[in-house]
């Protein structure tokens, strides 16, 4: 690991100032000189691998007293960005009213990592693409812009089939983000020029021609909270993976439904493990609205969700698997007792 200076932020202003001071113009967040340290489960790991090379670390954990509450707000709930994954997963009201959130967190990582990792850090975690994580490979457009992509014709079994470009097929690895994008969450952000908020769906950027730019967050900005409007008791997170526990998704689905008298009034479908960014399947949702559920509908919805999928040599199986995950998640959501 390369040397860095360490600074402990005592309040949000100090943190934003310390991070902003080190930020150079036109430098994407992922390459910023100063990086915030929350749980550290991505940052310290990638610093050991020499993938991330910050010269300064700003420890934002002391801000937990400002930014870790799980609290009702309006008709919904506000989740502080420094809340630990384990605490949110175990929260009674989250389990009751937002099972898709509780389960996306519970099925991620291990008990130890969930005790460390924060919600804000979790949505900002970097891809697990093995060519990105191994600096002995020159060709990674995410790490070395313009160098090419070793995964394209390499071992790409874990890679994305949706939202891909000819520059990058790295999978967005998280689970919680799928729940957030499905529920139309809002991200609250604190930066130099004060607070702003944006739809969660606008936080991540598909790779396109600039895979090194992963989010719309600017250097010096920090996520302070997430807000979810309404309640979604009929919601599930289904995750298919190589191991039963402690593994990233091959394919996952976050599904939330509003069903009244057997008719689907509102439907949300988001996909994980198969896309370059947290993925909302809006075409699939449109097929569900106003309909009564049956297996045929589930199949049409699953087909629609993967209509634009592009498989490569080792990952085409994700298209068939992903459709089954969507159909089963819908089935579970329709039949769950609430």
């Amino acid at each position: 690991m390369r040397p860095f200076s360490y600074q402990r932020a005592t309040d949000p202003d100090t943190a934003v100032r310390a991070l902003g001071a080190a930020a150079a113009a036109n430098n994407p967040l992922t390459h910023a000189r100063a990086q915030p340290l929350a749980g550290g489960t991505t940052l310290i790991d990638l610093m050991k691998l020499d993938v991330m090379r910050p010269a300064a670390i700003v420890d934002i954990n002391p801000l937990a007293s400002h930014w870790s509450a799980i609290e009702p707000k309006g008709d919904g709930v506000r989740l502080g960005a420094l809340a630990k994954m384990s605490d949110v997963a175990a929260h009674d009201e989250i389990q009751r009213s937002y099972p898709v959130i509780a389960n996306s967190l519970k099925l991620a990582a291990s008990a130890q990592l969930r005790n460390m990792a924060t919600l804000g850090g979790n949505v900002m975690q970097r891809t697990r693409c093995s060519y990105f994580r191994d600096v002995s490979y020159e060709n990674c457009n995410k790490r070395n812009p313009g160098s090419g992509c070793a995964a394209m014709d390499g071992v790409n079994r874990m890679h994305a089939v949706l939202g891909v470009s000819d520059q990058c097929i790295a999978t967005y690895p998280g689970d919680f983000a799928q729940a957030l994008i499905a529920l139309d969450a809002t991200v609250e952000i604190t930066g130099k020029s004060g607070a702003r908020s944006l739809p969660f769906a606008q936080l991540h950027k598909a790779p396109g021609n600039t895979p090194d730019i992963e989010t719309t967050l600017q250097p010096g900005e920090l996520i302070s909270a997430f807000f979810i409007s309404g309640r979604w008791p009929r919601s599930v997170y289904l995750k298919a993976r190589d191991r039963q526990s402690y593994e990233f998704a091959l394919s996952s689905a976050a599904v939330a439904l509003d069903v009244q008298n057997g008719t689907i009034r509102d439907a949300r479908v988001a996909l994980g493990g198969v896309a370059t960014v947290p993925w909302r399947a809006r075409e699939a949702e449109a097929l569900l609205k106003g309909q009564r559920f049956d297996d045929g509908l589930a199949q049409r919805v699953a087909d629609a969700a993967f209509a634009d999928a592009k498989g490569r040599r080792h990952n085409s199986f994700k298209i068939a698997l992903g459709k089954r995950v969507v159909a089963r998640a819908l089935q579970q959501a329709v039949t769950m007792e609430i």
Partner: protein, 204 residues
């Protein structure tokens, strides 16, 4: 009572021998570091070591370390508490699991500087006088290891698993112990050990 189990052992154990043998070669480096430290005390210079006080097993330990030092390296290399093991050093295997403020974490991804002011409990802090912690005893009773390398991490994780209320069924134990990999695959015996110790730990 001494701080570390190794100081209770003979000076001729394997680790003491290795540390002693390597020690003579380290003298010039240590001397140079000390000279640099005297010259420039600026804590924010990334090239220089920093002062940190870690609270480990109920005792404050003052350290002068590189900012890059993880809790795991601080324990093993600077405090000679070698019970916590380095397996992958990337948060994937769980061998380095310790409790920080009573929550299980992987010490290999925790910076020592960030753990200042928190209570760190390691495998060395479990036994009281001559009595093993119930989870330690349960691992022995159930033969819950072969090579033993993952065992300190398994035991720390298992204690937290029970206290979190996640040891109610074998399925729960398997799910909530999945962050601790056992290359010898002693899993059935580990599950049995956790089941055995759980009631006694919950009793307090």
């Amino acid at each position: 009572m001494s701080d570390t189990p190794s100081s209770r052992q003979s000076a001729f154990d394997r680790r003491a021998f290795m540390v002693g043998a390597a020690g003579s070669a380290l003298v010039p480096i240590t001397a140079r570091a000390a000279a640099e430290e005297a010259r420039v005390p600026a804590a924010q210079d990334p090239a220089l070591p920093v002062d940190v006080t870690l609270r480990v097993n109920g005792k404050d330990k003052r350290l002068h370390i590189d900012a890059r030092t993880t809790v795991l390296d601080a324990l093993r290399d600077h405090l000679k508490l070698t019970g916590s093991k380095k397996g992958c050093d990337h948060g994937q295997c769980g061998a380095c699991t310790v409790l920080i403020d009573d929550r299980r974490v992987v010490s290999c991804l925790t910076l020592a500087l960030a753990a200042e002011g928190q209570e760190i409990t390691t495998i060395e802090g479990l036994a009281t006088d001559d009595r093993l912690h119930p989870m330690q005893q349960a691992f022995i009773d159930n033969d819950a290891f072969q090579c033993g390398y993952c065992t300190p991490g398994q035991i720390m994780s298992a204690i937290a698993c029970v206290k979190e209320g996640h040891a109610g069924s074998e399925a729960d134990i398997r799910e909530y112990m999945s962050g601790n990999i056992c290359r010898c695959a002693a899993y059935p015996n580990i599950v049995a050990a956790v089941k055995q110790a759980a009631p006694e730990i919950m009793k307090g």
